[in-house]
């Protein structure tokens, strides 16, 4: 068997090799042709797509946040301005060990769990590479300095400045001016996404909320060339943002300070109006909160304190607190009785301390009633019924009036509706009538309901702003001007489409008004006449007073008091005590300020609320009088 000996045949091999090499070269050329086709696809056929994509990479349209309009008081004092705030961001792409870096930064500036949680959330969101992710939203000067000194240790760290809202007076105007707060997902659903694309804060509450549209301003844009790290290389085109409108309010910051001080630590509200313009001179609600917390990023802890506190500091009592007006309502009942001819200034009613409707067992008592059945005011006419605040007199008046007469007359003073021009989310209060009662309670209107409304109790509810408006209307002798925050602005405001003017109060004669004002002056000034002859507030505010003040006290029940029962203030739980009211205006014959004071669970209106009113009016008028 012949064994095939394999001998190397160099020539043959060389030939075979040459053909194989030629084939390889052909193959290589084909592969490269494939690459060239790919290049043709990218660079010729789909060139436009990639051209656009590269431009989109390079050119960014960045929204430019407008600078929010400033808010001034009537004397040009800044109530809300804008300040730069520095925040700390990290470019995660430039950081090898993110956890370690955060831990190291945490040694320099305090980082709380919220910062870290927020950072992790923001890190997960869609963003461009090399875009910094915020880690800490506000840095103090000291923290900036500390970070700057250690900048070399943290390559991906960035500190950026942004203008944010600042409230120089802190809590003082928290309820009147309101505050801006972080734009939430919820807000974004109803906002113009383009207009708000660069906006981080939006007006919530108060003037900031009502005039949001004008204060916000118009967004601007800039077309910039950026590198992949998001750094701007050059600005190609710019549409500057339109500044927000600056607005001037009727508020008087000095009066606001005085009102806030007068209330002190008590829960309550003060609203002061200029009767000539309706301008809101002061609006205090206590407790207050610091609006700056909402700008600098309120901590969950602080927010919890605010939102769960039994004292409800975030609640604006001045416009949303609804309380029974108590005896401050009596002037309206008096005017209604005169208007509908059920009494005269001269009719005398015998006040024996209690009142009974015909055929009914229930006894309605006077505020001064004692268990020994003393406390009646004796024979009493309207003027004394007002300055002595006789319940019995007004029980009679209310029983003589039909509820529709009383309700429609009362509505002229703005109760049960919002009459203010530009107070955000103002409450309507409640002016009960038979239709309302049937709808809300499913019960018909009883004569007893009239009696309760007659002394400002029952279902009747008003806000301090509404009672200040009542004081203002009386001061104006029936002339109604709508309460208003805005005094002036640089230009016309989008929001400012004023509602039609309110009608003046119809019915009372000029004489009726003057008599009412006299009676209300007696509340303050009539003194040294013995217990049954003094104005209810005289003992507390009527002495050493350098001007004529007209006022009316009120003490609103919070809990129903059983028949024939007298209660001791001290025995009641704090939150069940009566609310103290006082409404006033001054000078009585040329009113320049009208005011309503509420002290929640404060007790007697004359003893507790009246001194607050006096303090506020003093602060407003005495400098003017001294100046003259």
């Amino acid at each position: 068997m012949a064994t095939a000996i394999r001998i190397k045949d160099n020539l043959n091999e060389k030939r075979a090799f040459a053909s194989r090499v030629a084939l390889m070269y052909l193959l290589a050329c084909l592969l490269m042709a494939g690459v060239i086709v790919r290049m043709l696809q990218l660079q010729v056929w789909e060139h436009e797509i990639y051209q656009t994509r590269s431009e989109e990479n390079r050119i960014q349209v960045q929204p430019l946040a407008p600078t929010r309009g400033l808010i001034y008081d009537r004397h040009g004092v800044l109530l809300a301005d804008n300040r730069p705030v520095f925040s700390l961001g990290l470019v995660s792409e430039q950081i090898d060990d993110l956890d370690q870096t955060i831990a190291d930064i945490g040694d320099l500036v305090p980082l709380i769990e919220e910062d870290l949680q927020g950072f992790r959330d923001r890190l997960k969101r869609q963003r461009r590479p090399f875009e910094p992710v915020a880690l800490k939203l506000t840095l103090t000067e000291e923290e900036i300095a500390r970070l700057a000194a250690n900048r070399h240790r943290f390559p991906g760290m960035q500190i950026t400045a942004q203008l944010v809202r600042h409230y120089p007076f802190g809590p003082l105007l928290s309820h009147a001016v309101g505050s801006v707060r972080r734009v939430t997902e919820e807000d974004l659903k109803r906002l113009d996404p383009v207009r708000y694309s660069a906006t981080r804060f939006i007006g919530k509450r108060g003037v900031e909320q009502f005039y949001e549209n004008s204060l916000h301003g118009e967004i601007g844009h800039q077309q910039v060339e950026t590198d992949a790290h998001g750094r701007i290389r050059q600005v190609l085109n710019i549409t500057p943002p339109g500044y927000g409108q600056n607005i001037t309010l009727h508020l008087d910051s000095r009066l606001q300070i005085a009102a806030s001080a007068a209330l002190g630590d008590r829960r309550g509200a003060v609203v002061a109006l200029d009767p000539r313009s309706g301008g809101i001179l002061a609006m205090v609600s206590k407790p207050e909160y610091d609006p700056n917390f909402f700008v600098s990023g309120i901590s969950a802890e602080q927010y919890k304190v605010y939102s769960t506190s039994q004292e409800r500091p975030l609640f604006n009592r001045a416009v949303n607190g609804q309380y029974a007006p108590g005896s401050t309502f009596k002037p309206i009942v008096a005017m209604a009785a005169l208007t509908h001819g059920v009494t005269t200034w001269d009719e005398i009613i015998d006040d024996r301390g209690s009142f009974k409707l015909p055929n009914q067992a229930r006894i309605y008592r006077n505020w001064s009633w004692k268990k020994n059945n003393s406390g009646g005011q004796g024979p009493i006419a309207m003027r004394r019924a007002i300055y002595r605040s006789s319940n019995v007199y007004f029980y009679h008046m209310a029983s003589r009036l039909h509820i529709d007469q009383l309700a429609s007359f009362t509505a002229q003073f703005g109760i049960g509706q919002v009459t203010s021009v530009d107070v955000a989310d103002a409450s309507r209060g409640l002016l009960p009538d038979p239709i309302w009662k049937l709808g809300a309670r499913g019960e018909r209107w009883y004569p007893g309901d009239n009696i309760n409304v007659g002394i400002g109790q029952g279902d009747l509810l008003v806000t301090p702003l509404q009672l200040a408006t009542v004081a203002m209307v009386i001061a104006n002798r029936g002339h109604f001007v709508r309460p208003q925050m805005l005094m002036a602005s640089d230009g016309p405001l989008a929001e400012f489409d004023p509602p039609p003017p309110m009608k003046d109060v119809q019915g009372p004669t000029p004489e009726d008004w003057e008599n009412l004002v006299d009676a209300m002056e007696d509340v303050v000034h009539r003194g040294n006449q013995g217990f049954r002859g003094n104005g209810t507030a005289w003992a507390y505010i009527g002495q050493n007073i350098g001007y004529r003040m007209a006022g009316k006290s009120g003490t609103a029940q919070v809990v129903g008091i059983k028949q024939g029962e007298e209660y001791e203030e001290e025995e009641l739980d704090e939150f069940n005590r009566k609310h103290a009211w006082f409404i006033a205006f001054a000078p009585a014959d040329d009113p320049q300020i009208a005011i309503a004071v509420l002290v929640e669970n404060g007790g007697g209106g004359s003893s507790v609320a009246a001194p607050v009113a006096r303090e506020v009016i003093d602060a407003f008028l005495l400098p003017q009088i001294a100046h003259r």
Binding site: R6, I7, K8, D9, N10, E13, K14, A16, F17, A18, R20, V21, A22, M24, Y25, A28, C29, L31, M32, G34, V35, I36, R38, M39, L40, L42, Q43, V44, E46, H47, I49, Y50, Q51, R53, S54, E55, N57, R58, P129, E225, T226, D227, A228, H229, R233
Partner: protein, 375 residues
């Protein structure tokens, strides 16, 4: 042509410059192509590093060293290469084994070796040369096309170092080392049907192989089909590279004018992705010019291979040239989104050291084999 060339050499005493180069064992055409690529590459690199002089100078020095490596390698007698091939190969394998035992960790892989008295280096670079040399050496006195037994031995020669590199892990380099070996095998006359069988077997095994891949490797393959699936992660490079190339159009945006590269949108723009800078700034014309130059290198190399008289020379010249082409093809394909992203630089253009020096040394060997008539 080479005959004419030799005759000129024989007849005239006064030599033309090109002929003089031959005398010092350099191939003038190949050298011209290579130097053109290097020069062209340096210009592009200067743009890719945003005209940073330090990078440019470092690359210039490196290319000088690479050129020196070529010249020196070309002077050595092929006999030396031939004789030392097995030793070189075994040394390479031993070093690869050493890497696994005492290598230096970097970025999750153990690729570097630090031996006393030597600079830090990757032994896998040695294998890029040693493997094709060893396969060529093995076949030099064997009958071609190879028998099945010879083929099995050759496979072993290839797969031992490749396997060591895979476990480092450095799949990209392992594939390139294996490709160099297979290139020689292919030139040795590997029957086409076997190649077909191997291809079919690989296709059948592909689903199984998928599970042996690491997560980032799978991701790279997936993003090839849909770069937008992970635009900020694995897809980012490909998206930015295709955007750069595509936006260049036919004529390009002009040198130093590429926004993708100058504004750093293009990652690795001066290393693995430099062809995208060429595409963006010099357009289709710039890319085509490069491809043409590379094809000329390949053509000249393959011509030199087929002109060689010994099996060893033939196989080695052909293998080294082919593997050079594989680098080019793989690099451009990966940057333009045709192949998954593997760490292969563009030969002689990308910024970085060892690979340029290894490549130029391999061309030195090619020239040595070609210009030495006797060994």
């Amino acid at each position: 042509m080479s005959k004419d060339f030799t005759r000129t050499l024989d007849q005239t005493g006064g030599l033309r410059p090109a002929a003089r180069l031959v005398q010092i064992h350099l191939d003038p055409l190949m050298l011209l192509f290579l130097v053109t690529i290097i020069g062209y590459g340096l210009i592009v690199l200067y743009s890719a590093v945003n005209r940073d002089e330090t990078y440019f100078t470092a690359q210039l020095v490196r290319m000088g060293l690479a050129l020196a490596a070529l010249i020196i390698a070309a002077q050595l007698n092929p006999a030396i290469y031939f004789r030392w091939t097995p030793v070189f190969y075994i040394a390479g394998v031993v070093l690869l084994a050493l890497v696994l035992v005492m290598g230096v960790q970097a970025k999750g892989a153990q690729r570097w070796l630090e031996l006393p008295g030597l600079p830090r280096f990757q032994p896998s670079e040695i294998s890029k040369l040693a493997v094709p040399m060893m396969v060529a050496w093995y076949f030099h006195d064997r009958r071609l096309p190879p028998s099945f037994k010879d083929l099995a031995v050759a496979m072993l020669i290839i797969l031992i170092p490749a396997g060591f590199i895979v476990v480092q892990p450095d799949l990209g380099t392992a594939i390139l080392v294996a490709a160099a070996g297979f290139a020689v095998l292919l030139l040795a006359g590997l029957p086409w049907r076997w190649i077909l069988y191997a291809g079919l077997a690989l296709a059948a095994a592909a689903p199984g192989l998928w599970y042996t891949l690491k997560e980032y490797q799978k991701q790279r393959i997936l993003t090839l089909f849909d770069p937008q699936s992970d635009p900020l992660g694995a897809g980012w490079n490909t998206i930015q590279a295709t955007t750069a190339i595509g936006s260049g159009g036919v004529y390009g945006k002009g040198l130093f004018e590429g926004t993708q590269s100058q504004l750093n949108f293009l990652p690795e723009s001066h290393t693995d992705f430099i062809i995208a800078v060429i595409g963006e700034e010099l357009g289709l014309i710039g890319v085509a010019a490069f491809i043409l130059l590379y094809l000329m290198v390949l053509g000249r190399g393959l011509y030199m291979a087929s002109a060689a008289h010994q099996t060893y020379s033939r196989l080695l010249i052909g293998g080294l040239t082919l593997v050079f082409f594989v680098y080019v093809f793989v690099n451009i394909s990966m940057v333009s989104g045709l192949l998954p992203v593997v760490g292969v630089p563009l030969p002689l253009v990308s910024y970085g050291g060892t690979s340029a020096i290894t490549l130029m040394a391999s061309f030195g060997i090619v020239m040595s084999l070609h210009t030495h008539k006797t060994w």
